[in-house]
Symmetry: C2
Subunit: 286 residues, 2 copies
């Protein structure tokens, strides 16, 4: 097994040494973006989707994103020590090192690019329990729709959930609709329709979310991207979360009351199987 290395701005460093400037705006202000991606065989799963989201984020933050080949090089370098095994790779791009202080954006900063890969742990199939988070997700901010670095609310909400014996926290937005979980999108089967909140609700446009919507359509399941009320979620026939690391995870209870039967539902199991197939075919290679 090779030693895990971290990629920073064109160089690989051992994990246990200093990599970054303390003057990096990613550190001082959370002024940057990231993507967490699956990879296997040296290839990144749904790379185009991740790149498109990163580009949208860079537009919102007005960060001059390095070109695709530079980003691919970063990811490839970070994956090297994984020798093709299934991995999660995080690519981070910040506005860069700023010797000045304050929030004003000075022109001419060079973005910092960081990439790091870890083993992809096979996700649990156990259903997740959730509680409603005490704080709202700020759907009034464009940052709610891009993968920006400030995850403080998610850290607090997850801890809050765990203190109550739950696996996840569900964020409502400022209008009281469901926005998502701490690091995952939320889907609910309402009547016969698979519903997931739109980005305007403060839902991050997840790469797995998009893929699952496509898989559902292909399977003939009616889908809707529309505001989801807390009542809709609580009284859903079934529900699940999606993210890149865990794929589809059944959501079996909310605030200690079962969702549907309190067991992973039929739509959840069907889509999980389809998603596993897509991933398996990717791992097996082109």
């Amino acid at each position: 097994m090779k030693t895990p290395m971290v990629y920073v701005n064109g160089r690989l460093y051992p994990e246990d040494q200093p990599h970054l400037s303390a003057l990096d705006r990613g550190f001082t202000l959370g002024d940057g973006l990231f993507e967490t991606m699956r990879a296997a065989g040296g290839r990144v799963f749904r790379w185009e989707d991740h790149l498109a989201r990163l580009r949208r984020g860079a537009e919102v933050l007005a960060i001059s994103l390095p070109g695709e080949s530079a980003l691919c090089d970063a990811v490839a370098a970070a994956l090297e020590h994984r020798t093709g095994e299934p991995s999660l790779v995080r690519l981070t791009v910040t506005r860069g090192v700023d010797v000045g202080r304050g929030v004003a954006v000075r022109p001419g900063l060079t973005p910092t690019v960081v990439a790091r890969a870890v083993p992809l742990v096979p996700p649990t199939t156990r259903g997740a329990t959730a509680v409603v988070a005490p704080m709202r997700r700020n759907d009034t901010s464009p940052l709610s729709q891009v993968k920006a670095m400030g995850y403080g609310d998610s850290v607090l909400a997850r801890r809050w959930a765990e203190q109550r014996g739950a696996d996840e926290a569900v964020f409502l937005n400022t209008r009281g609709h469901v926005a998502g979980a701490t690091t995952a999108n939320i889907f609910a089967v309402v009547g016969d329709t698979l519903v997931t909140p739109p980005p305007e609700s403060g839902a991050l446009p997840g790469v797995t979310r998009r893929l699952v919507l496509d898989l559902a359509r292909t399977a003939g399941i009616p889908v809707a991207e529309r505001p989801l009320s807390l009542d809709d979620l609580a009284s859903a026939r079934e529900a699940f979360t999606t993210n890149i690391a865990l794929g589809i995870r059944p959501l079996v209870s909310l605030d200690a009351r079962p969702i549907g039967s309190g067991q992973p539902g039929e739509v959840t199991r069907l889509l999980s199987a389809r998603l596993d197939d897509v991933w398996r075919r990717f791992v097996e290679g082109p």
Copy 2:
């Protein structure tokens, strides 16, 4: 002049070399706190206030803050190269380096402590113009009341303001009341009363804010910490912002309409002079 150095976990590093792990949760998640403080003669202005706010923040985030003497050592080391000159020193404490990934808080992490000092630039006395920010401040989050590292919305809002030719952006909270500026508290003279929003409005409990409230009381000016509507601010007799770097800064227009006379007001000038006195006496020493 000595070379500027950055303090990180017990060591001083030149500014231009790597200081931090890319696995630090302050970087990956914005999972940490900071204070920006004035200093002169090796002493920190209103240290007790900053320490108290840092401690409250550490409680909210459940970060085990190092003891006061360790924090003082960090600040003292960062100030060394300033040889007693008036400075701004930033003290950052993150949850620490996490080889795992995700938002879950693993026990046993060692907080990262960073400190850096720069010259205190004498603030401009020119009045600031402001526009109302397009996104709301998330007063539903406990993070709105502590100085957490995620400043993405402030970066966006400041840039938005500058694109419109304004110096500052005013955040409303989710209920439509004034929360503050991008990196400053807001005061308005409404009738005969000096009004500033309470922390429950999403206002950071600023150290300069507290000092200015005390100075106003001493000067016999009626003060109120209460929700401030946008109308109250727009139709105020005068208004100003406070923060540690700029002190009191007159706020002379909002969305291109003058506040009061459109010039720094009487209360603003009186309190500015008092605040300057307090700082001058501090610089002259005990």
